[in-house]
Symmetry: C2
Subunit: 254 residues, 2 copies
């Protein structure tokens, strides 16, 4: 008997950014697996069970959730933001590929959500208004050299860059190194946006430049957007500035 | 008297993927500007006015909406997906920067939404599970040479790539050229996902390879995800395959 596993994206943090599809999936499931702060966002009924685990245990969590679903239960794995962006959907797929054949018969669904870079971008204008990329700065699962190669490719290609997982206690120097690397490609005046805890009560969005950017002002709840050479800042008297990347690039035909 | 302008993301198309924040913003506004198919998704009250315009008229639409807001009205500009990703938020910012000084005093808000690449990824597994980028294939607003340079940067950097605006009647050859270019960087077996009209009734998701990919099967409602050399396909008996990109890259320390 094969059950159901739904990987649910809860969005950046505000209850009003959780899609009705996600809320419905939460209402239907019986067992909830996830990182504790994400599970804490849910208001579960007494008949719904929650199994919290730590941040770094994505694969173990996926295996547990799949085993429970394979028993015939309706199981949910919850993620903040979108589960497909540096989150649980890939971990669940990895576990299915490596796991027993019967796990391939589980009815798997992924419910998308508003990922952090979209929420930060919306708060400040439209910095992702043209071609962009998303890079996780964590070198837990990939070599730092690969991250540097991708920074070079992204900056020299003119992409706006969103940094996920910019810094942590175990990874204190990577963000500073990334900024140094980008300074070899991009003007000192390139706009940067630090979005702290966007969608939560302690939300704070700061606009700075590549030259002035201070890595120590970031933490695990920060999402950083690095502009391209085209990204612009509009000052507004008495209001926060707008940051946006124009839809057109120099040399366009029209 | 300065009014309010809200740029609202309606998500990929399903009503249950519209966030409560977006629904509330729709309920509060009095004048709605947008591309007709997006306006058609709204159920407006008799006291709410809609002003539809064509696909290519983003800047004119932004100017009209800003002028209306500057008269003191509560105005909405609607986008499909997320308004910050190849959509209206950047056009509105461009119009503000170029427009009269008083437009900078308008209370501007952007309501994020689930953008197409997240919806397509969720339908098929987790192809965006590692570093990725989003590229618009439209050369209306940037030279084709820049697009080719970005394809080179993205593919050689090992990014998964999401193509927005892959093809249209006025741009029939660009997608085929892009595939050709990518074939010089990536294995023929690289997985590709064609997501057609995801989130709508005629939704269809097709998994293929870079070698077999047929540009003529795409249309304006298609979002394409091109895997990296790491992207994997899990076959499932009696079910559609899963496509995912592992969280780890070769050479990782752990």
């Amino acid at each position: 008997m094969s059950g159901r596993l739904t990987v649910i994206g809860l969005g950046p943090g505000n209850a009003d950014q959780v899609t009705p599809q996600a809320s419905e999936a939460v209402a239907e499931a019986s067992f909830f697996y996830g990182y504790k702060p994400y599970l804490d966002r849910l208001e579960l009924r007494p008949d719904q069970a929650r199994i919290a685990s730590d941040n770094r245990e994505e694969l173990a969590r996926s295996n547990e959730a799949l085993a429970k679903a394979a028993e015939g239960h309706n199981v949910a794995v919850v993620s903040g933001g979108d589960p497909g962006v540096f989150a649980m959907a890939a971990a669940v797929c990895e576990a299915i590929e490596a796991g027993p054949a019967e796990w391939r018969g589980i009815d798997l669904a992924v419910v998308p959500g508003v990922t952090a870079m979209l929420a930060v971008a919306a708060r400040i204008g439209a910095p992702l208004g043209h071609d962009f990329c998303a890079i996780s700065l964590s070198d837990n699962l990939k070599p730092w050299e690969l991250i540097e190669r991708r920074l070079d490719a992204a900056a020299s290609g003119g992409f706006v860059i969103a940094f996920y997982n910019p810094i942590s206690r175990a990874r204190p120097w990577q963000l500073g190194k990334a900024f140094e690397r980008l300074r070899t490609h991009l003007p000192a005046s390139t706009p940067l946006v630090f979005g702290h805890a966007v969608g939560r009560r302690d939300e704070r969005v700061v606009v700075t430049t590549l030259e002035a950017a201070d890595p120590s002002s970031a933490n695990m709840a920060t999402l950083i957007i690095v502009g391209s050479a085209e990204t612009r800042v509009i000052e507004r008297p008495g209001m926060s500035p707008l940051v946006y990347t124009p839809r057109s690039a120099p040399g366009a035909g029209t």
